[in-house]
Symmetry: D3
Subunit: 236 residues, 6 copies
């Protein structure tokens, strides 16, 4: 990769409520982007310390952060940041909103992934609302305290985890990276031991692939925002 | 099965917009009910003559009706009725509504399956509205022209086909009949040759099973109406 | 009632935002269940101390707790627990969610009643969301800090108080217990003195009964979740 | 009533899908308006010939039209028009839309009542959509074939029949005319013999009255459109 | 204006999340009401201190409060109250709800303006929910701690700011006060310097005016609640 | 433009319910695409013969077709096709759906514009549903009678006309073509004489431009479907 390529590198920022959500929701698409040289960062809101009824929270969070780092490497992400908010989010504060604005303005992502807006799990829905609210607030001449310049990603996509998207606007063929996605997912051993998310995710990818008529395996997304630049034909 | 058992036999009535919808949506649950001795009837609104871009409609409908009969046998259903409405429903008429009232009052089902209410496919959504409208109209002292007595099933369930249910109220473990369901589905060769519905359905069943924490394979349903009799604890 | 019957006793757990909500929403159905030997527990989130513009909060909560205990006895409930959250809920915290998981896992209810999901009153809607969120979180291998084993009721029903259910899935004929329900309701004298909830509730029961074609008086419910066990025909 | 009063007379136009819907939904409010000298016209879309499972349609429609005329007199309406569309509406045609535009432009109502928009009964929902679509189309310089001048009522209100309004904007105290409303309703003997709509409606009026804190009996309405003239404070 | 007129003076209370929202949403209508002698009070929830990415919050809030006072004078409002809640609301507390009840019961408004319910901006949506929740709670014999008597405005209207109303019930012709509205809006120099809200608002008023067929400029509103008194024809 | 450019030419297909809807909804964006060499076709479902209360339908349709052809030329479109369905659509038939499939498969568009899905005008909403239903049905191996091969556009966008989009996903800066858009719009003299759509549209474009923070004039769109190819970063 020469200098020109470097300059063209695009940045991806993915937010997840728990350490394994990003892999479940958009791991296959991220792996494809990583192969094309995109710089991918994961921001994980809670360290998932409530993710067991056996292991106490303080041990669990350490275990799950390690799993998240491992999984991110498998996907090809460059970094993982942990916000360490308490697992089991029931809402968000103004401070958390400012945190998110700060991160978005610092990392200046071109592509942003986040939980889709209608998730049945409250923790996921809160994550979605928090990030989307920060996106709006961070895009204009507001919130001096968050520092940085106003920023808007070129495309914002919502991914599905516990709740299937009723309508989706974009389907991505992940046949080429499904195994990478599943390998990343199985890094989250503390979770997949109890619930076979890996099998579930393989099943859903197949269903999505067939029903979108692509024939392969697929991840589907809600298009939350797209700039003219993001869409080929509208680059005037 | 003695006389008493006979008397207790319960009746199931399933409506599908196309010849393969019932198997896709509730074939596994039906197979379980068939094993318990329920009498199952399929009513298929259109004969799916638009289900190909190669074969002309008049041939297609004959092919698909045969497939539907074969598949119903695999499931263990007792009968299939074809309404022969034109495939590609965009609405329904008063006459179709009276047809449905007549069928419901004649067959007096205890369990009724139909497409769920938010299906993305218009033909499926029309089927759902038509049957649910007939259910309401057929349950009271109305529509003399349809004949018969007012009738209400004990439970009415909506199944998913092209569009995943965002929320569902009932999940049925179909691990024991998944293979029967898939066998029935592959009777619809004219369809599965072009689009691998069988693989899609296997994938979705796995996803539903894992995410409902049952661990097996599952079909999920929207509970549209339930009588006190249908629910154990409310039989006073 | 012999030993076998005892063993079969089923447990009911009802949540209400205020001391009189449960009686208004599902008092008639509870009375029927009590007659069949179900063990019923009421959990009341706030003690309704804002329920007057004359009496100061600290007196009001004591009055209303006594009223709630009296009313529960009339219904035939076994116990009432007061969470003493501040009346006028505008949201809920993670701690409240853990409280609810703990109660559900401790009491292991087979039937769970809670405010329906679309209530127009914010305090009621918050109660509904809180309990349903705890139900989901308490049903899997999560939240060690709440203690106990994962638990899921066989049926979860939403009842109506201030806001009528637009759609309901289950109607229960309470003709036999309407007077018991009203007697329980009038125990909440601090409330019915100002607003004639008793007359309102009698009127709604009649409307629901007639419009559901049962002919008697009725309470109607949103079916939020039902297990295969809860529904007669799906006990395989 | 002198000349000045005459000039001030306002016109009310109410649409109902069946002969008894208007009395059920807004009979109490209409009776109040009649007492104030408003000229009230009822337009009944179908003659309700499907309203029995005993009496054949052709007899039923004649019976019900007579009942509707009687009931309108009790309320104090000036006229009833029957569109004689087939009972059991499943949609509407362009011709029906033009019919409605013609009626609205001819009668030039100041107040218009129609089924609320979310009715669970399809026939009622179709009536609502048909009339509201005609209202929009009839308000501008369009549809020459309907004749007349563009017209918009000062206020358009949706009333409830089978399905309770989840949210309502206007509650009218009908304590003074409840008995008139019920007397009008019982004119529809062919209906109230089978289903006690009168008792249902009395119950709902009480519930609405208490819950809207008026203390009396009430009818509630969806405000669908209001002009500046209709609202006191906005007459500039 | 003599004594009788004084007595008839009506009170308007408008709530805004930020210092410029009221002018944007209902400034033209308020100016018309002011001309008719209505007493108008503005209650501004946050002082908009996050409204810049250059100026620190503590300076910003002082600047914007001054702008709000100036703008209110242009409109003809009598007073402005600042709640000084932190800008960037992500929810509201019980205390804030009691604050709002207290204000409503103290100022006893006949007309109340607030952000419409579906605003896309979270801060605006929170403001809407907070005020509407306080309206409901303040209208009955509840919340002794807020003091005062139960109060309900005659009409409650939702105005649009960032998000256009999909459906509106009331359109007010503001041709006569559009320039006043824009003059008031340009008092918010700290905001209009960066984003040309004035041009946006002029554009929207024109669109609303033409599309409502009034031909002039218009502000449109969601009718959230209307009493019988508010609507001419229902003053019985 | 040499041969290579020709080969790259992309095709745009826009559907409108009436002769002026396309110009109002996406005329500015189309003009930009025309400048880049896209081949644009307009398909107009009804010839708008109900668009006057003075001129009889048979004259009106001829007038409006001429206006539509003129306007399309101003925009830079290559062709206009008239379906001549009766103006005032209240639903669509199976035949109309097959018509639409045939057109889509014949013209093989890369970009497709259609009325957005929540339009308040029924005729527009019907147009939207009809085209979207045909898109789904035309994309798979179905509907032999429509001829042609399955086809899916790379991007499907919903435009706003009478009803503002509550949420939009894509905003296009049309500052460079606003005057062209308005010039095209004023070709529809039979319409703009009565209602100043041109001023309305200019106003909305300004509001959309400012509120999307682009600063210029804008058209906004609902992204209904996007393929991987349509979005820059997902061309793997």
């Amino acid at each position: 990769m020469g200098r020109k390529m470097k300059k063209e590198l695009k940045r991806v920022l993915s937010f997840g409520a728990h350490p394994d959500d990003i892999e479940i929701g958009c791991g296959g698409t991220e792996a494809l982007l990583a192969q094309k040289g995109y710089e991918i960062t994961h921001v994980i809101l809670t360290s998932g310390e409530a993710g067991s009824d056996r292991i106490p929270p303080w041990e669990m969070s350490a275990i799950r952060e390690k799993e998240a780092i491992k999984a991110a490497k498998v996907i090809g992400a460059c970094g993982v940041e942990f916000m360490k908010y308490p697992d089991g989010l029931t809402g968000f504060t103004r401070e958390m909103k400012v945190d998110m604005i700060r991160i978005i303005r610092r990392l200046k992502p071109h592509i942003l992934f986040v939980h889709e807006r209608n998730e049945s799990s409250l923790g996921h829905r809160v994550a979605s609302e928090l990030v989307l609210e920060a996106l709006q607030a961070g895009s204009g001449p507001w919130f001096q305290e968050a520092g940085g310049e106003p920023w808007s990603p070129e495309i914002v996509l919502g991914y599905e985890v516990w709740h299937p998207l009723g309508r989706y606007e974009l389907s991505v063929d992940i046949s080429a990276t499904l195994e990478t996605k599943l390998k990343a997912l199985t890094c989250h051993r503390s979770q997949t031991a109890g619930v076979r998310y890996d099998e579930a995710v393989r099943g859903l990818a197949r269903w999505r692939g067939v029903m979108s008529l692509s024939g392969g395996d697929a991840e589907v997304f809600e298009v939350i925002k797209a700039s003219q630049n993001a869409i080929n034909c509208f680059k005037f």
